[in-house]
């Protein structure tokens, strides 16, 4: 379904870029408006990150609901969507996750055409390395689950990995490479562009994107949500969706909820620009290390979370060093690459390492949280499913596993890591 655009928007194309080049870039319009908040909306989405913006977009695009406000306390895309390692993949193996990330990847594959925005989704292939027979078995199960789901996976032996990644340490590695699980459709996308593309798409369909507007309270009357209090005044709404990964516990607390979430910092790193040297996304589970090279030439890589609760959006030295050590151990050819910048995001860590998209006990209030460190690739399907839930009151089939009550019932837990209910271990 396509709906008529409300704002004075423009279509992007190579021809348009050419034309504007000739006229000195004078014809470009604002990518989004800066509207004043209205007194009331049909739907308020708290959180102008990737998931909030995609929720707004799909509410408008799929359900025709455009009287929507996205409230962002900072700037659009300022949270985790703008501070991650940009990896897009569909390589989960537990039911509940499989179908969701599979759906998300399909949405990614049509995203540029859908948004008319180049998010540089690059399906350069993802290779997960394994270093023992046991790990091979676990990855085989994963790969088979991916194919069961209809996605792609290829099991590489050591020589197969060497053909793709000749620069790994095959001679002296502490944990020798046994092989890898290759996911050809895996890859990366330009993270900021995803937020901006969805924001633009939502704005074009009439959604009000309101920045510098912090929600300070959630209004509830008789068990039903009626609106929110913000730093820019009270705004009424029939429905409210909390889509604020990183800050979920704080926002949910405004509605009297206590979530199964702990916030942790995940660091990521980028090196100075280099001529192309790493063509895939490579993941080294043994050392908690993953890397790809951006189109600008920087090596973008990361490791595990810092392991302690944090809202500080910055990490500490030991984890940085561990990540660099893993890089040296896996692919010593990157040794002379210099790390230019490191940053930290706040991760909503859930007890089973999988997210939550569900209704709450308060009518009209929807919850989207718990993305751990896998939120970026989920942006399209998360918004799609959250919009579906808000619009129809029903869980979308691709996200039916993300129920909040699974911890209470023990049914459908999705603990891909198998580390159990300790939030920081996923």
């Amino acid at each position: 379904m396509q709906f008529a655009c409300k704002s004075a928007s423009m279509r992007y194309s190579g021809f348009k870029v050419f034309l504007e080049g000739l006229r000195g870039q004078s014809g470009w319009k604002p990518v989004w408006r800066d509207p004043e908040p209205k007194q009331e909306y049909d739907v308020i989405i708290i959180g102008g990150g990737g998931h909030g913006l995609s929720t707004a977009y799909y509410l408008a695009r799929n359900h025709g609901i455009t009287n929507v406000a996205v409230l962002e306390k900072g700037y659009l895309g300022g949270g985790n969507v703008g501070r991650n390692t940009t990896i897009v993949r569909a390589n989960y193996f537990l039911p509940g996750n499989s179908e969701f990330y599979s759906h998300s990847l399909k949405l990614w594959e049509g995203l540029e055409a859908d948004l008319n925005y180049n998010v540089m989704h690059s399906q350069r292939g993802l290779i997960n390395l394994f270093h023992s027979d046991g790990q091979r078995d676990a990855f085989a199960r994963r790969g088979n689950a991916m194919i069961n789901q209809g996605d792609d996976a290829i099991l590489l032996d050591r020589e197969g990995v060497r053909r793709h990644l000749p620069y790994l340490d095959f001679d002296n590695a502490r944990f020798p490479v046994y092989g890898g699980l290759f996911h050809p459709r895996g890859g990366t996308a330009r993270h900021d562009a995803v937020a901006w593309g969805y924001a633009r798409g939502a704005d074009q369909r009439g959604v009000d994107l309101i920045q510098q507007c912090e929600v300070t309270g959630i209004d509830i009357e008789n068990g039903r949500v009626t609106g929110v209090q913000t730093t820019r005044g009270a705004i009424r709404a029939k429905k409210v969706a909390m889509v604020v990964a990183g800050r979920s516990s704080e926002v949910a607390a405004m509605a009297g909820m206590r979530l199964p979430i702990e916030s942790h910092v995940l660091q990521a790193f980028v090196t100075e620009g280099l001529k192309p040297c790493i063509d895939h996304v490579v993941s080294f589970g043994m050392g908690h290390f993953y890397i790809s090279q951006s189109d600008k030439g920087g090596l973008v890589f990361g490791g595990d979370i810092d392991f302690y609760a944090s809202y500080a959006q910055r990490g500490n030295l030991p984890m940085k060093e561990h990540v660099m050590e893993a890089g040296m151990a896996l692919m010593p050819m990157i040794g002379q690459a210099r790390v230019l910048r490191s940053w930290g995001g706040i991760m909503d860590m859930s007890p089973d390492g999988s997210p939550i998209i569900d209704k709450t006990h308060i009518e009209g209030l929807t919850l989207n949280c718990g993305w751990c460190y896998g939120g970026f690739k989920a942006v399209p399907a998360s918004g799609f499913a959250t919009a579906h839930l808000v619009a129809t009151g029903e869980l979308h089939e691709t996200a039916a596993g993300f129920r909040l009550d699974r911890f209470e019932t023990g049914r459908g837990l999705m603990d891909e890591e198998g580390t159990g209910a300790q939030h920081n271990l996923h």
């Binding site: 979530l259 702990e262 609760a309 030991p318 911890f407 300790q422």
Partner: protein, 86 residues
């Protein structure tokens, strides 16, 4: 970051392992209802601010409670579990 082990004193972060909210010490008794147990294992206050956490100083085997600010990473104080129990 640095933490204070109740046995060894001020030490580098890399000597420690984190477990989670110190409410893990408040284990419900056998008679608690199922909801209390679900809550105990899964749900967290998770404040942006001061919280109490369990850490393990691996080299000496001491567990400790750190009262710490999650926004500034300032540790206000650390306690041995014996002290925390009181």
């Amino acid at each position: 970051m640095r933490l204070t082990c109740p046995h060894c004193g001020d030490r580098d972060l890399r000597e420690f392992t984190y477990k989670g909210d110190a409410l893990a010490l408040l284990r419900p008794d056998e008679t608690a209802n199922p909801q209390e147990w679900v809550d105990y294992v899964h749900n967290r206050d998770n404040p942006a601010g001061t919280t109490s956490e369990l850490w393990y100083h691996g080299p000496c085997g001491s567990w400790l409670v750190a009262v710490r600010d999650t926004t500034t990473h300032v540790t206000h104080r650390t306690l041995s579990l014996a002290e925390a129990g009181k």
